[in-house]
Structure formats: structure tokens, C-alpha cells
């Protein structure tokens, strides 16, 4: 049982402001992912929660208690490091039991708890090995085991999968999700990989330049990004951006003029903007549709056939757009293609990069990960 609350957390090193005032609430048993490009402050934020770094100002509350002055080991947290940070001179068992040894827990009690964690993680046969005799995935498990043994109220994961190869990463992702259910603990997870964020999180916190860009469920970020940065960062391949002009707007939505001159109506609130305003249209690659009647036209520069899908890189004016098309499309490089998009899938951004709000909320936007399994009570934002 643990909640975490950050209130106006700031951190500066000398004159560099790394975290510029973050507010956040993490509910009990929530899986929260901090995601952002490198240098966005996500790791620093986690290290401040862990107590490895002091906050320059602001409050860190765990279960409502201010923790700023409490030492890292007394906050009821456990952390899994990016490098795993296993103690190389100790066996797996000693690694997992070190915190209890420091706390003066009796030997058989220690062993009992280590064995329990080892069973969950299938580490039993490895207990007598030293870290260097383990594979990357096994080391990762030991690092998690060391955290489990401490029985923390909150788990912290600092890019735990970044040192694993792609196949193992997928497997560990699934295992971590399972672990979250099994342990029923609050977890905070830092990553730069938006796929990890999308697949595991109940709530994603997108950070950039030391500030929170948006907090929300994965589907909310995907369908209702607050700004151009989140729109571009969440989703792969990246969203396409096209310069357009607002023609008019009313209660039914807005009409925009696309490059090439055709106009389209989209269900987005353009109130307050004058006709002729410059906007950016955002459409995800998977939402651009090839069609001979499409309003947009471009020339194929590169074509990547993945079998089931084909990525087309299409030059349109100054923009290189990405289109995810069917695996069997018959186009070739240098072919000219026409394409369009469904108005529901369009996003509009003003010159400041902020999203214009959509008239309809996407039905899945408030879905939480647990909701994938069974119907639950009404969702929270």
C-alpha cells in the first residue's frame, strides 16, 4: 500500500535547472512510467524519489509523509538499476540478502525470504553463483529479486531493460507486467523507449527538458496528445506533420486547406482562431491511407517491405512523410502516390505546438491496463 506525491519538485546543479517544478500523483498499485528523450530529467526525478539525489526544492510525499530528509533505505523503496549494480563479490543469495544482513536479520529468516523471491523469479538453481557467471537476463532477475526481498511499498526501475537484447527485452517486459500483478505493488519505471511505456504503464509521464509535458494513460497520450512533442514522441513510426491553413471553424469542427489546395473538415475545435491561421496537421503513419482519390500527393523515396506491412517514405513538398501500407502494395520507388486520411484520425497543432482539442474523446482514451482483463469500475483520468 503506497502512494507517492511530488509537489513542485525542482532540482538544479549549480546554475543548470534539471527539473523545473514537477507535480505528480501516483496512486497505490499503479504502474507509472517516466518517459522522455535522454537528458529530459527522468532519471534525476527517479533518483530524487529514491533519495539518492536531494531535491533543491519541493516536497516528496510517500503515503502522505514528507520524505525529503529521509535516507534512501528508510523510504520503503527498492530500486533496480540500469546496470543492475549487483555486488560482484557476492553470490546471488548474498546479493539478495544484503539489505537484510545490514538490518541484522537472522540468517535463516534471510534465507527464507531470499528463497521465496528466488522462487518467484526462477532463480533457485543460481543462488550460489556470482553475478559474472550469469547471463544478462539472469542478472536482471537477480536485481529484481534484490528489490523484491526488501518488500518495498514502491519499486523503482531505472531503464532496467536497456542492456538486454531485443528478444529478451520483450520477454522481460511481459515478466515485469506479470510481476506487477503478482506483487500488487506500486511501480515507477523510467525508460526512453516509448514501446515499453505503452505496453506496461497504467500512467505515462512524458518529460522533456525537466518539465512534465503530459500525464495520462497510454491510449490517452496516443489519441489525445497535449502537444506536438508528445504527439511525435508517442507512437512508432513518428507522427507526420503537414503545414495547413485554417479555412473556417464552427461547432461541427474545422475546415482546413491542405497542401495542393483541397479542403477537409475535421472534428476538431478551432474556436478562437481566425480563418487563414497557419496550423500543423498531424496524422500517424498508420492512419495515412493510400487512395487514388486522396487529397494529398507525393513521390516515393524509399520503400521498406516488412512482409506484412510496407513503409513508404513519401516526399511531399519539403516534408518526408511516412505511410504504413499493406504488405502487398505494388508501388516502386519514384512512383507518385495519392493518399488521404480519415478526419477522426487527424490532429491539429497551433503555432505554439499545442493541440487543438478534439470534439470527441476516443473511446479507449481512458483505458487502464487492468481494464484489458476484466471490467472494472469507472475509470479515472
Amino acid at each position: 500500500m503506497a502512494t507517492l506525491e511530488l509537489k513542485q519538485i525542482k532540482k538544479s546543479f549549480d546554475d543548470t535547472h534539471v527539473i523545473k517544478g514537477v507535480d505528480l500523483e501516483v496512486k497505490d498499485r499503479e504502474f507509472v512510467v517516466f518517459v522522455g528523450p535522454s537528458g529530459c530529467g527522468k532519471s534525476t526525478l527517479m533518483r530524487m524519489i529514491a533519495g539518492l539525489e536531494s531535491a533543491t526544492s519541493g516536497d516528496i510525499l510517500i503515503d502522505g509523509q514528507r520524505m525529503n530528509e529521509v535516507g534512501p533505505s528508510d523510504r520503503g523503496l527498492a530500486m533496480v538499476f540500469q546496470s543492475y549494480a549487483l555486488y560482484p563479490h557476492m553470490t546471488v543469495e548474498d546479493n539478495m540478502g544484503f539489505s537484510m544482513r545490514l538490518a541484522g536479520v537472522a540468517k535463516d529468516k534471510r534465507r527464507e525470504k531470499v528463497l521465496e523471491a528466488a522462487r518467484i523469479l526462477e532463480l533457485e538453481p543460481l543462488l550460489d553463483r556470482k553475478p559474472k557467471a550469469l547471463s544478462g537476463g539472469q542478472r536482471q532477475r537477480v536485481a529484481i529479486g534484490r528489490a523484491i526481498v526488501r518488500n518495498p511499498s514502491i519499486f523503482l526501475f531505472d531503464e532496467p531493460l536497456s542492456n538486454l537484447d531485443a528478444a529478451l527485452r520483450v520477454q522481460m517486459r511481459i515478466e515485469l507486467a506479470k510481476l506487477h500483478e503478482e506483487l500488487d505493488a506500486t511501480m515507477i519505471y523510467v525508460t526512453h523507449d516509448q514501446i515499453e511505456a505503452m505496453t506496461m504503464a497504467d500512467k505515462i509521464v512524458v518529460l522533456q527538458g525537466g518539465e512534465v509535458e503530459q500525464v495520462g494513460s497510454p491510449m490517452e497520450l496516443y489519441h489525445h496528445p497535449r502537444n506536438r512533442f508528445v504527439a511525435g514522441f508517442i507512437g512508432s513510426p513518428k507522427m507526420n506533420f503537414i503545414d495547413v491553413e485554417l479555412v473556417s471553424s464552427d461547432a461541427e469542427g474545422s475546415t482546413i486547406r491542405l497542401p495542393g489546395g483541397e479542403t477537409r473538415a475535421v472534428p476538431i475545435d478551432g474556436a478562437g482562431l481566425a480563418g487563414g491561421a497557419a496550423l500543423e496537421l498531424g496524422v500517424r503513419p498508420e492512419h495515412l491511407e493510400l487512395s487514388d482519390q486522396g487529397p494529398l500527393e507525393g513521390r516515393i523515396q524509399v520503400l521498406e517491405r516488412l512482409g506484412g506491412q510496407t513503409s513508404l517514405y513519401v516526399q511531399m513538398g519539403d516534408n518526408l512523410l511516412t505511410i504504413m501500407a499493406d504488405g502487398d502494395v505494388a508501388y516502386r520507388v519514384n512512383d507518385s502516390v495519392r493518399f488521404g486520411f480519415s478526419p477522426d484520425r487527424a490532429h491539429l497543432f497551433d503555432t505554439e505546438g499545442l493541440s487543438l482539442s478534439k470534439l470527441h474523446r476516443h473511446p479507449l482514451a481512458s483505458l487502464r491496463r487492468q481494464d484489458n482483463r476484466a471490467p472494472t469500475d469507472t475509470v479515472s483520468q
Partner: protein
């Protein structure tokens, strides 16, 4: 039967012959490099080898025409050992070298720890300043140290020499430990802190066991430098605290021209250090160049 065998043989020999043209050139090159390398090594090592050899000769053989053929004797060793002097000098060397090294490590470890793991803006400056004290030539300060030691009664004492060697080696020891500590992943100490380790436990359970090889080679380098130091030992000691460097120097007087005994004593004096040096050559480079060459 015969044909099959021939076929089999050619079948084996053909790729073998192809390989041999390449490998032969390589082998030839290696052979010549080997001859050259070993010749150079032997020429460089020769004086040491000759000294060890002379130690097993009689005094008459030692000054006779150089020869590799003689009946080895331990007489010189026995004589050097039995003369009351040698043991005293050797003990002085051991006490001074190890004493000063332990002291230097004791003072340097906390300092290097804080520089590596709690760096401030001043850390770099402090490190460089420490290095610069090493640049002060001993002759430059010989006079005041001599007079100070004379006035407080430290002349010709092991304590005096330990003090000088500790301070002489302190910058190198701090530097070496600093570079070893710096190499230790910070994550591990942080994991320890998350697990509830305080500073002392962090140092005892994590830092020391993990950097033990580095600490050991730092210590060995300090022992080597103290053991071989000759400027201070010749100038600050005479009879009571003189270590082996000074003892060997006493053979330079004309009446001390006993080559076999000199050789035996020298062999004993350098043997342990030579082994230490061989063991730690790689890590020593760091200490000797203040981390500029790794």
C-alpha cells in the same frame, strides 16, 4: 590399398601445403622477432643476472676473469647473514617501507574516497595541488628537513624515515586510489545505500572488497618506492635506522670491495621488490603517470 592411402595422404597434404606458405612467413617473422626480443631482454637483464651469479661465487672467483663455470657456494650469503649488520638493515627496510605504506594508505583512503564519490568544485584543484607537491625536488628541502630532524631528534630514526616516506608517497597513493575508486561503478554504492548501508558499511562491505586489487597494487608501489628510496635514507640515517639502500652504499668504500658479499646482499635486497614489481607492473603505470597513461 596403396592407391587409397596415397589419395588420402595427398588429400590431407594439399590444404596443409597451402597453409604452410603463409604460416612459414609468419613463423619466420616470429622467430627473428623472438631472437631479437630475447637478445635485448638478456642484455638489459644481464647486470642483474651477473650480480645474482656472483653472489654464489667465492670472493676469489668473483674478481677473477668472468666465467659462468664455477661451483656455486652459499658462503657469501651465510657471511652476509651472520654479520650482525645485515639483519638490522633489512629489518629497518621492512619496517620503514611497510610502515610508511600502511600509514599512507590509512591517510589516503578517506581522502581518495571523498574525492571519487563526493566530488566538489575544489576536488580537481586539490588533486593537482597534491601532484605538484611531488614536483618539489628533495634536494631543495634537504637542508631544512635535516635541521628540523636534528632539532627534534628524528635524525637516524625509523620514525623519521617513515614520516618522510609517507609524505613522499602520499600524493601518488591518493592519486592511484582515486583512479581505482573512480573506476568503481557508482551504481553499486548507490544500490548499497538503497539497501541501507551507511558510509562505514559502504566502505567496509563494498568499496574495500571491490577495490582490493587496486589498493594492493597501490600499496605495493608505495612499498617499492620506499624500499628503493636512496636520497633521504642516505642523508637522514647513519647507523641506527639505515635501511638496505644505505647498507649497500657502504660497499662503495674501497675497503668494502667484497664483490661476492656485495652481490649476495644486493640480491637479497632486491629480490622481494623485483617480484612485487613484476606482479604489479600494469597497475603501476597508472600511479607512476598519475593516471595520464592507462
Amino acid at each position: 590399398m596403396t592407391t587409397t592411402r596415397t589419395k588420402l595422404m595427398t588429400g590431407v597434404a594439399a590444404p596443409g601445403r597451402q597453409r604452410s606458405a603463409l604460416t612459414e612467413a609468419l613463423l619466420n617473422r616470429r622467430l627473428w622477432l623472438g631472437v631479437l626480443g630475447w637478445t635485448v631482454a638478456i642484455v638489459i637483464f644481464f647486470p642483474i643476472f651477473w650480480m645474482v651469479l656472483t653472489g654464489f661465487k667465492t670472493e676469489a672467483e668473483a674478481i677473477a676473469e668472468p666465467s659462468l663455470i664455477f661451483s656455486p657456494t652459499l658462503d657469501s650469503y651465510a657471511e652476509v647473514q651472520s654479520r650482525a649488520g645485515y639483519a638490522k638493515f633489512a629489518i629497518n627496510s621492512v619496517v620503514v617501507a611497510f610502515g610508511s605504506t600502511l600509514l599512507a594508505l590509512l591517510i589516503a583512503i578517506p581522502s581518495a574516497y571523498s574525492m571519487a564519490f563526493l566530488p566538489t568544485k575544489r576536488t580537481k584543484g586539490t588533486l593537482l595541488w597534491m601532484l605538484s607537491t611531488k614536483m618539489l625536488p628533495p634536494v631543495g628541502v634537504l637542508v631544512p628537513i635535516y635541521l628540523l630532524f636534528r632539532d627534534v631528534g628524528l635524525l637516524d630514526t625509523r620514525t623519521g624515515l617513515i614520516i618522510v616516506y609517507t609524505l613522499m608517497n602520499l600524493p601518488i597513493v591518493v592519486w592511484m586510489l582515486y583512479t581505482f575508486f573512480k573506476d568503481m561503478p557508482k551504481d553499486i554504492l548507490e544500490a548499497g545505500r538503497m539497501d541501507g548501508a551507511g558510509t562505514l558499511q559502504e566502505v567496509l562491505y563494498l568499496l574495500l572488497p571491490l577495490t582490493l586489487p587496486g589498493i594492493a597494487s597501490t600499496g605495493l608501489l608505495a612499498v617499492i618506492l620506499s624500499w628503493n628510496e636512496a636520497f633521504w635514507s642516505l642523508n637522514l640515517t647513519s647507523s641506527q635506522a639505515a635501511p638496505l639502500t644505505a647498507y649497500i652504499a657502504s660497499f662503495s668504500s674501497p675497503e668494502g670491495l667484497f664483490w661476492a658479499k656485495l652481490s649476495a646482499a644486493s640480491t637479497m635486497a632486491i629480490a622481494p621488490i623485483l617480484v612485487f614489481g613484476w606482479l604489479t607492473q600494469k597497475q603501476m603505470v597508472r600511479g607512476l603517470t598519475f593516471g595520464a597513461v592507462k
